[in-house]
Amino acid sequence: DAGVTQSPTHLIKTRGQQVTLRCSPKSGHDTVSWYQQALGQGPQFIFQYYEEEERQRGNFPDRFSGHQFPNYSSELNVNALLLGDSALYLCASSFGKRLTGELFFGEGSRLTVL
């Protein structure tokens, strides 16, 4: 049984560019949430998708957007990249739209913005 898978694992972009990160949830899960983890810090909640809609959102600007597909997979898009967007982006899946409960995380996509 595959767990949460994310792609790509690493990528490098330049300031002002746009990036799309992808996530496939664990089998049987219908909810995906995204997190940003800067080096040496804890993850920060970006948003959660359930039934193809953004349900909850953390304190992130509109440059961060997402999408969930009918097969429950998800994308995170970041526009107009800033140097400060360099981080590990984590995806987590769960069952049901509650934020409480056990989250299963992928290994992340490491984004470097030059």
């Binding site: 934020l99 056990e102 992340g108």
Partner: protein, 108 residues
């Protein structure tokens, strides 16, 4: 959402019990406390979640006093493979906040 405060680092030895305390003074009625473990280059892994009193599973115990302003994760008989960063998380159905994490180093 309540801010969490944890020790930055802790050292222990194999076979010892380790207790990591997290402070969350402004916790709200609907907030739960959750702990995650993270190894380098991996995503966090769920350890345990609780609301009040004591919760125990096969890997850890979570103690939450009546005022719920703090919580303590207890790891019995740690091994070298328990060396990791441990995050305390306050979460409700609308938001979640990870702490800065406690780096636990287990020595032989």
């Amino acid at each position: 959402l309540a801010k969490t405060t944890q020790p930055i680092s802790m050292d222990s030895y194999e076979g010892q019990e380790v207790n990591i305390t997290c402070s969350h003074n402004n916790i709200a009625t609907n907030d739960y406390i959750t702990w995650y473990q993270q190894f380098p280059s991996q995503g966090p892994r769920f350890i345990i979640q609780g609301y009040k009193t004591k919760v125990t599973n096969e890997v850890a115990s979570l103690f939450i006093p009546a005022d719920r302003k703090s919580s303590t994760l207890s790891l019995p008989r740690v091994s070298l493979s328990d060396t990791a960063v441990y995050y305390c998380l306050v979460v409700n159905n609308n938001d979640m906040r990870f702490g800065a994490g406690t780096r636990l180093t287990v020595k032989p």
